[in-house]
Amino acid sequence: MAIRITTPLTAADARKLRSGDSCLISGVIYTARDAAHKRLCQRLAEGKPLPFDIRDAVIYFVGPTPAREGEVIGSAGPTSSYRMDAYSPTLIAQGQTGMIGKGARGAEVIAAMKECGAVYFGAIGGCGALLSSCVKKAEVIAYEDLGAEAIRRLEVEDFPVVVVIDSQGNNLYETGRAAYLASQK
């Protein structure tokens, strides 16, 4: 059974999630990719406020395709998360509790997740058409000049994810593969 999560996600709730849990996320999440992450961290370095409340926030690593007339959003699947590794620890230290992406994360990100209580969710890569139907509202709130890479505030309903790395550092990419290989012996 999938665990229902409503954002904002507190660190206490994030700490309850375990690697391998299937979850359905509802509420507000924010989109950001490489270029937006770079700007967010630059603002923090300059001591300026961020364009949204980072505390207890979930950031989705995605650059959607343009919406057609009458559509909320275009295709919107996850992008590779490791490209955000340079920035995520800084944002987690500011209170970010959730990340949605796909693929491996670096040791520094996992260390920050353990220290502050954050979780890394995986959405299925290459399923952007399917995932877009869970997005009920989308609005650009910052860096419109970045186009697909602008920061969007999304309202999602039952957005399907799996906890890949939990706040204890358990990693489904390691345990899932090991369990499958053990089953084949």
Binding site: P66, T79, G103
Partner: protein, 279 residues
């Protein structure tokens, strides 16, 4: 001399960009279905089911299968008896510009690799030219996503590394890519030629219909063996474990220098898109 108008070429490329991004080729769908049948790991089967459902939704709505609608790789085989009126290169870029605009595809190209300002229309396309006999023009559009492109590798092996060296390099590249390139993946391998030729061969290998082995029985056997080895890694769909790490391994080769053994591995995600039209 047969004449082909550049405007016609632009119109075809526009259409191919949209179709390639919204309709997955039948060979890829069929291969995913076959792999799902053979997949012993329940979670992996479930993911393959969702991937298939996504293809169906995308085709029904004519919506991009993946939000990374790629860099437009355009392969042109130009018959030497054909004459294109107008500017062929400009027509290719114009077709891409129109296709990415009218198909609501993502504009993912930056003008400069370090200064990184988006060109706003997904141009320029990557154009690969070939002059061939005849009077036809064969156009293939293969949008290439970068989640998988970033996991590609090239190495100049020594002739003494031989067949084992090549195979080990391919398997290592797939293992290092792990969950990042959206497995199940398609593995294009280029062996031989020069440094750049090997990479091009690997890219071309990704255009071959899945399930169609190399015409050379030696390399067909190597493809089968590599697919077995890659799928024994256990990475599985999305990297969550399972058999189906790769859908296919395709090898293309070229003659090379007595001192060299270049090997390139170009990785594609399960959204292995390409559409072709002959004018």
């Amino acid at each position: 001399m047969r004449e082909i108008a550049s405007e016609q070429i632009a119109a075809v490329i526009r259409r191919l960009c949209i179709q390639a991004n919204c309709i997955l080729p039948e060979d890829v769908r069929a291969r995913i279905a076959a792999c799902a049948q053979e997949e012993p790991w329940p979670q992996a089967q479930e993911i393959l089911g969702q991937i298939t459902q996504n293809y169906t939704v995308a085709r029904e709505r004519m919506q991009p299968i993946c939000q990374d609608t790629g860099m437009a790789c355009v392969f042109l085989e130009i018959g030497q008896e054909a004459h294109v009126t107008g500017d062929l290169t400009a027509a290719v870029h114009e077709g891409v510009r129109q296709g990415y605009r009218d198909g609501y595809l993502r504009k993912s190209v930056v003008k400069d690799p370090l200064r990184r300002v988006n060109t706003g229309d997904n141009t320029p396309a990557m154009i690969y030219w070939d002059i061939v006999p005849g009077d036809r023009l064969r156009i293939t559009v293969a949008p290439k996503g970068f989640g998988s492109e970033n996991m590609s590798q090239i190495k100049m092996l020594k002739p003494s590394d031989g067949e084992e060296g090549v195979k080990n390099f391919v398997v290592k590249a797939v293992e290092e890519a792990g969950p990042n390139p959206c497995p199940p993946i398609v593995v294009g391998v280029g062996i031989g030629g020069t440094f750049d030729k090997a990479a091009l061969l690997a890219k071309r290998a990704l255009l071959r219909p899945l399930g169609q082995p190399s015409q050379d029985p030696f390399y067909a056997a190597m493809e089968a063996e590599l697919l077995e080895r890659v799928n024994a890694l256990g990475i599985g769909p999305q990297g969550f474990g399972g058999r189906t790490t790769a859908l296919a391994v395709a090898i293309e080769t070229a003659p090379t220098h007595i001192a060299g053994l270049p090997v390139a591995v170009n990785i594609n995600c399960h959204v292995t898109r390409h559409q072709t039209e002959v004018l």
